[in-house]
């Protein structure tokens, strides 16, 4: 269908539209018009992604003179694939209605590991080996040597791509990672470099958060993006954590040992070069005197991850004189590693700010703040000079330099925490020095500054006024939409008591109580026999899940559960988890039914949908609080209190409940879908906890469902499932339309009446 929102004709690939999608688009359009940032919360299962894509592409089409570019950030690669699939659907529709004028180039961008098609390179196990494998074949000096010596292997795909030069372009269309690989194979061009190149010309780029948030990556990938771009962070409820992680580094003994090895290797290389090619080192020295700005002119295949700090701060200055010479720089690094070694030897937990830490380095190792700040860039310059291709061997020293640069750049919002062992395992000495970032706004600040519109959206952004404070920005539009339901297709319940009427909770003093474990098991067992198809269970942590599943196994509950449904578990091994998920889906598809055990902050909870028959029930066992004894968390809470006046308790509850809401929200995809959600913990019945749940869940949480025991929940589940099995009118009961057709929208006119829909 197509319709007008003010001056923009919106092309929407479906025959009908939900009213909240329409309002979402209206709000979004206002934000784009105002060239400002937006914060939009809309429940899962209301088609956020397609509404976003549809409006932004239509907006770009309606303003052909100055088309905006869309940078769509997803949390994970599989979400990237989903988004591109939706975009393709939309694009096909637009092409049908507008013809060639609607042509756009949209592509997904990922690392070499996901894009490489050279079998010799891609067979490597992890990303770093693939990167190194690629560099070994494509680095400029390797290729230069290969010209003279045909025995030196190069990458055929990269050579072809280079040969094609300016002709190597992607024709308009929507390319998923798989399509890129297929195209590359077809043409014989390297899809990775092709995609990297095409990003500048694409209308829509879909990539993951860190391409914008991690300054190291952003400096390379995203530096060509024009200001007239719309940046969308989808599923952004965790964006503050992503920002924080992007600027946090930890140093362990293994890191230091590895770094020492790397340094001696580099020393050997320097000596070799001194003997054979002293000119190179001198040339580098001269380059460093002029500053590092020219790094941007390196061939595409030689680029490194950029400086982890904000590039603009650094590029203006030249590298300090005392680390310009390679040997001097190496000795500085040695001293730094030595110093860190000494710090790790501590018996007690130590915590200090960056300023104090830098001062201490200065006094003990003689390295000042400016030298620290330039470590990362200086290291890469050196590695390029030394023509090091096996970069995966040199990760440890990179980590150290990354750490040094961060410490040298930021004076606030960070703390350095040294722990001699893990709190939970005091008998295993495992000292770690962590540079932890507390301020999410540091990483995202350049994004807000650089791009005219940044849209942060998710199904759970409650309380919506907290995010602008955490991320330190001023949205022009900040709205939370409710869900207009044709029927009550979600059924949230709070279960406070088990079948023996005793309270259940994962509170620290209760969680290992055998009664609670048994009650949780009975709850699942009862549900498994009543609910068809898929059931998803979320636990508060891996260790808790392991413990409870083992107990269930020993007491025979697991065996009984397995008589009804197959059991799959998320593990920390992603390959295994992916296969388990795939099998879970197949079990649901074939009607066998299955249960999936997952962890609230795990990878599955972040990005996998359990829509339709893949999830008819979600059980959230406990409240997923963070590990509150973690030093890092405590430090962050302290920072939040001092800087933003956010209370610790409030933040912890907010964080736990957004995770819980995120977990249970995975069951709904559309209004035709239905699912139940059980919050199994007595603490959910308390108002201060419950009220932090997003509105669309709260509005369906009836008072009668606030304090249930297992048998009552079972009864409600039966009733609900029977009710959902009845046929219903999709368009909604007269009066409250939940599905709008083109005519409905026309009748509504210019959008003045749409407010009454809610």
């Amino acid at each position: 269908m197509k319709f007008q929102i003010e001056d923009v004709t919106v092309y929407f690939p479906y025959d009908n539209i939900y009213p909240e999608q329409y309002s979402y688009m209206v709000e979004l359009k206002r934000a784009l018009d105002a060239k400002g940032h937006a914060l939009l919360e809309m429940p899962t299962g209301t088609g956020k992604t397609i509404a976003l894509l549809s409006l932004i592409t239509s907006y770009a089409l309606s303003k052909p003179s100055n088309p905006i570019k869309l940078l769509y950030c997803t949390r994970t690669v599989h979400e990237m694939e989903k988004t591109l699939a939706e975009l393709r659907l939309l694009h096909q529709y637009q092409l049908r209605h507008l013809g060639p004028a609607a042509r756009i180039l949209a592509l997904g961008l990922s690392s070499r590991k996901n894009l490489c098609i050279n079998p010799a390179v891609v067979s490597a196990e992890n990303r770093d080996s693939v990167d190194a494998g690629c560099r070994k074949l494509t680095a400029s000096w390797v290729r230069a040597l290969a010209v003279e010596n045909p025995n030196i292997p190069t990458c055929q795909f990269f050579e072809n791509y280079e040969k094609a030069a300016s002709e190597a372009v992607l024709p308009p269309g929507v390319y998923t990672l798989q399509d890129l690989r297929a195209f590359g194979r077809d043409k014989g061009w390297c899809p990775y470099f092709l995609a990297r190149h095409m990003v500048q010309f694409a209308n829509v780029v879909v990539y993951s958060y860190q391409y914008l948030l991690d300054p190291k990556v952003a400096g390379i990938i995203s530096k060509e993006m024009q200001r007239e771009s719309v940046v969308v962070f989808d599923e952004a409820h965790n964006i503050d954590n992503v920002c924080i992680e992007a600027l946090s580094v930890s140093v362990r003994r293994q890191t230091l040992e590895g770094a020492t090895r790397n340094l001696s290797k580099m020393a050997q290389e320097i000596n070799r070069f001194k003997a054979t090619d002293a000119g190179r080192l001198r040339a580098e020295y001269n380059r460093l005197v002029e500053g590092l700005a020219q790094r941007g002119n390196l061939p595409i295949s030689d680029t490194w991850l950029a400086n982890p700090a904000l590039p603009d701060d650094i590029l203006k200055e030249a590298v300090p004189g005392n680390i310009r010479r390679a040997e001097h720089f190496l000795s500085v690094l040695r001293r730094l590693v030595q110093y860190l070694h000494g710090r790790l030897e501590t018996e007690n937990v130590e915590k200090e700010g960056p300023v104090a830490f830098v001062a201490s380095i200065n006094s003990q190792a003689g390295i000042d703040q400016k030298m620290l700040k330039f470590c990362y860039d200086r290291l890469h310059s050196l590695m390029l000079t030394l023509e090091i291709t096996d970069t995966d061997e040199f990760l440890h020293i990179q980590t150290i330099c990354d750490f040094a640069t961060l410490v040298g750049t930021y004076t606030r919002g960070f703390s350095i925490i040294i722990e001699p062992f893990d709190e939970r395992m005091p008998h295993i000495p495992d000292p770690v020095l962590q540079l932890s970032c507390h301020d999410a706004s540091l990483a995202i600040k350049p994004v807000f500054e650089r791009f005219q519109s940044v849209v942060i959206t998710s199904g759970t952004l409650s309380p919506i006024d907290l995010y602008p404070r955490l991320l330190n920005f001023n949205p022009v539009v900040s709205r939370s939409f409710t869900m207009s339901l044709t029927r009550n297709c979600i059924c949230p319940m709070v279960l406070t008591r088990g079948s023996d009427q005793l309270p259940v909770s994962t509170k620290f003093d209760m969680r290992s109580d055998p009664g609670v474990v048994r009650n949780y098991g009975r709850l699942l067992l009862e549900m498994v026999s009543v609910v068809p198809d898929g059931i998803v269970c979320f636990f508060v942590s891996y260790s808790y899940m392991d413990g409870i599943v083992n107990t269930w196994n020993e007491s025979g509950i697991l065996k009984e559960i397995m008589q009804h449904k197959l059991v799959f578990i998320e593990t920390q091994d992603v390959v295994e988890t992916t296969l388990a998920l795939d099998n879970y889906r197949r079990a649901c598809d074939c009607g066998r039914g299955a249960v999936f055990f997952s962890v609230a902050r795990g990878k599955v909870a972040e990005g996998i949908d359990f829509d339709r028959h893949y999830g008819r029930l979600v059980i959230m066992f406990g409240v997923p609080f963070q590990y509150t004894l973690s030093r890092i968390l405590l430090a962050r809470l302290e920072y939040l209190r001092e800087t933003f006046q956010i209370k610790e308790g409030d933040f912890l509850t907010f964080d736990a409940l957004r995770q819980a809401a995120q977990c249970v929200g995975r069951v709904i995809r559309s209004k035709a879908d239905y699912g139940m959600m059980i919050f199994a913990d007595k603490r959910y019945s308390r108002h201060d906890k419950r009220s932090k749940l997003p509105g669309w869940i709260l509005s369906h949480l009836r008072d009668a469902h606030l304090n249930l025991s297992t048998d009552m929940a079972l009864h409600i589940a039966r009733e609900f499932l029977r009710k959902m099995a009845q046929p219903y009118d999709k368009a909604g009961v007269s009066g409250r339309k939940t599905l709008l057709s083109e005519e409905d929208l026309e009748k509504m006119g210019d959008g003045t009446t749409n407010e009454m829909l809610f």
């Binding site: 998923t176 948030l213 362990r252 295993i428 992603v574 390959v575 296969l579 890092i632």
Partner: protein, 735 residues
């Protein structure tokens, strides 16, 4: 087997009995006991095939040398003989052992042919059991306790097998179990016990039924158990430090399927390097180490013993399988792709110790195995199903069969190119939001009406809604229309079309609909007139007894006719007598039907006659079809109850015609063979009889009715299309 054995022995009814002295003579297929005292009643002559097994006492100093030939393993009753000494007993025991072995083989192999070879032939017990099972099969669940006994009485004289009778009675079938009287039982009772058909004849036409059952049971393959039985739990006796693991073939199979490394190790090590027992000992040891959760100890043990290490380390085969599978995984699920797309790619980036991660010493990492991994693996294997089809008894064959099936699977995977395309299609389908979109045209399956009653019941609603006018039409159905008139009207229409030309569309949709509804409504009109709840069929409205009787007569008629035509052409005297028997039986049914009709209340009389009519009609039709040489009988339109009389007359005439020819032509011997052919033909006829055009649609149990009805509807549609304005009345009469 060497000839025979002759020994002195005492026959005893029980061990403590003093017994009767005499001579036991054993030949290849039977044993005979002759008491020394000729007046004794303990004289018998028993064939070996009724002997299920034999027991004997242990050789000891004072104990008597006993040999017990058991008839029934459960009951333990049988023939007990006491020999004078052990060597005598041993000779007899060996002889019996050989004889029994021979018989058990023979009965397995021979059961299939033997069943139909002779009329009074002895059936194998398997066959017998199968028949009894069929007879017992519950269809209408009308309990009739007496029948069990009746059936037994019926079977016993026929087979003359005390042993079967004993077995049946012993297992409490007759006395305790409530016998459910099925249709089949009733028929069996009616025809076989009353002597119309012999046992063999009765079953011959149902051979398919017997075969079908067995093939069905053997085909269904059992999947893996949902429970994780491969997760062995050690049992302790509580006093010593000994732990016990129990392994069954089922568990071993599951272990092989879930742990390819163990499977591979078994194939490599057993039996060359170690015995199977040693192998499992090692395996259990590894399991024990694992369940103590002591990774350090496991590592230490593994370092010393490389075979043990195989069980303790991570499964490399699984890992490579996982790598292979991950490439085919749905990209919207592929979390592995994130691995390489994370800012975490530099080690130690991000927050290291935030409480969500766990620390394990990397040195022992490979010896750590979690329950989660086992659970995932188990569920995956259960989902894949059980690929092999061999008996689980022998571990080696299981292992090899599993290896073979895996190779086949791997080969299939390589050749499978369509999978990726299918996957992509699925993703694009998944991305759509279902309720925003107009419903897609789903690929439809052809209509297959399993139970025609349901279909016509549902048609009632249509008929009620739309068709007031065809109601009038249906009433005219009984008036006759001569072929000239019909032809004339058809010509008229054709000429009309010639002059006017075809209208577009050729058939007005509303007329076509009317025609179709009229047609089907015609069939279901009886119910329409009742105007009742569509779920209820006419039969349900009749008194239960009447209904039962009607149904029963219907099936009896079918049965009789089937047998009658299976013996056609009547070429032997045997067949002749059979046919006349059938005719007689048929003639008995006629008055019964008449009786039913008269007995019911006047409200239902019309219904009943409507129901009875096709039964009669059916018989007549079959007669006509098969005997084209015979002159047509009876008037064309009206069907009366009287026609059964003419049917009988026809049958009689056939018999008369055949009789003289028979008497001169063939010998009895040939007749037997012919008969078998006919039996086979009868089965065939039973299968293909669906092509029969006129059926009785409202009687349950005659499922094959569906296709002729569909055919009828199709015919109606075709007619409607070719003759645009044909009035319903006119051509309906023809139909």
């Amino acid at each position: 087997m060497s000839g025979e054995v002759l020994k002195r022995a005492r026959y005893k009814t029980s061990v403590k009995d003093s017994g009767v002295a005499g001579v036991l003579k054993m030949t290849e297929d039977k044993f005979v006991f002759m008491p020394n005292d000729p007046t004794s009643s303990a004289r018998f002559d028993v064939e070996f095939r009724f002997i299920k097994g034999h027991k004997f006492s242990k050789g000891g100093s004072n104990k008597p040398a006993l040999l017990n030939l058991t008839q029934d393993s459960e009951k333990g009753g049988g023939y007990i003989f006491e020999f004078e000494n052990y060597p005598d007993r041993e000779v007899c025991r060996e002889f019996v052992g050989k004889a029994l072995a021979k018989f058990s083989e023979a009965s397995k192999a021979g059961s299939e042919q033997s069943a139909v070879k002779l009329f009074d032939e002895q059936l194998s017990t398997i066959e017998m059991e199968r028949r009894i099972k069929l007879l017992r099969e519950d269809r209408h669940s009308v309990p009739e306790e007496k029948f069990g006994v009746l059936l037994l009485k019926g079977i016993l004289p026929l087979f003359g097998e005390t042993i079967i009778a004993m077995k049946l009675i012993d297992s409490g079938i007759a006395s305790k179990v409530k016998w459910d009287c099925s249709e089949l039982q009733k028929l069996h009772k009616q025809f076989v016990l009353s002597g119309v058909l012999t046992e063999a004849e009765f079953w011959a036409t149902r051979k398919k039924l017997l075969d079908g059952n067995t093939s069905r049971t053997s085909k269904q393959r059992v999947g893996f158990k949902s429970a994780m039985i491969s997760d062995l739990k050690p049992l302790t006796d509580g006093r010593t430090n000994r732990v016990t693991f129990n392994l069954t073939p089922e568990i071993i199979h599951q272990i092989f399927a879930e742990k390819p490394a163990v499977h591979q190790a078994f194939l490599n090590f057993v039996p060359n390097k170690m015995t199977e027992k040693d192998f499992w000992n090692k395996y259990c040891r590894a399991e024990y180490l694992h369940c103590t959760r002591n990774t350090v100890a496991a590592a230490a043990e593994a370092a010393e013993d490389e075979e043990l290490a195989v069980f303790l380390k991570h499964d490399d085969i699984l890992a490579s399988e996982a790598r292979r599978k991950i490439r085919r995984v749905d990209p919207t699920l592929d979390m592995e792709a994130d691995q390489g797309d994370d800012y975490m790619h530099l080690p130690d980036h991000g927050i290291f110790r935030d409480g969500s991660k766990e620390i394990i010493d990397p040195q022992y990492e490979q010896y750590r195995r979690t329950l989660s991994q086992d659970l995932n693996r188990h569920a995956a294997v259960v989902l894949e199903g059980r690929p092999i089809d061999v008996e689980l008894e022998d571990t080696r064959t299981v292992a090899e069969a599993l290896a073979k099936s895996k190779r086949v699977e791997a080969a299939n995977e390589k050749s499978d190119g369509s999978v990726t395309r299918e996957r992509l299609e699925r993703i694009s389908r998944m991305t759509e939001i279902e309720d925003l979109q107009a419903p897609r045209d789903l690929p439809f399956a052809a209509l297959c009406i399993k139970d025609p009653r349901d279909y016509f019941d549902s048609q009632q609603a249509n008929a009620l809604k739309t068709l007031g006018d065809t109601l009038a039409g249906s009433k005219q159905i009984k008036c006759s229309l001569s072929s000239q008139e019909a032809y004339g009207s058809l010509r008229g229409f054709i000429s009309e079309i010639k002059s006017v030309g075809l209208s577009d569309p050729i058939v007005k949709p509303d007329i076509a609909l009317k025609v179709l509804n009229g047609l089907t409504q015609n069939i279901s009109s009886t119910k329409f007139h009742l105007g009742k709840n569509p779920q209820e069929s006419v039969l349900d409205r009749l008194p239960i007894i009447t209904k039962e009787e009607l149904l029963h007569h219907w099936t009896s008629i079918q049965e009789l006719l089937r047998h009658f035509w299976s013996s056609y052409p009547i070429t032997t005297t045997y067949l002749y007598t059979k046919a006349s028997r059938l005719k007689d039986a048929m003639s008995q049914i006629y008055p019964k039907l008449q009786e039913i009709k008269e007995s019911v209340q006047s409200d239902f009389r019309h219904q009943v006659s409507l129901l009875v009519q096709p039964m009669l009609q059916r018989r007549r039709e079959t007669l006509k079809r098969r005997r084209r040489s015979e002159p047509q009988e009876g008037p064309g339109g009206e069907r009366t109850m009287g026609s059964i009389g003419t049917d009988l007359a026809v049958m009689e005439r056939i018999l008369e015609l055949v009789k003289p020819i028979l008497e001169h032509s063939k010998t009895e011997q040939e007749a037997d063979q012919d008969h078998h052919q006919n039996q086979a033909r009868a089965q065939h006829a039973h299968l293909t009889s669906t092509a029969h055009p006129v059926r009785f649609p409202l009687v349950p149990g005659s499922r094959e009715n569906c296709s002729p009805l569909c055919g009828l509807v199709k015919m109606g549609v075709l007619l409607a299309f070719s003759l645009s304005d044909l009035r319903e009345v006119g051509w309906r009469r023809r139909v």
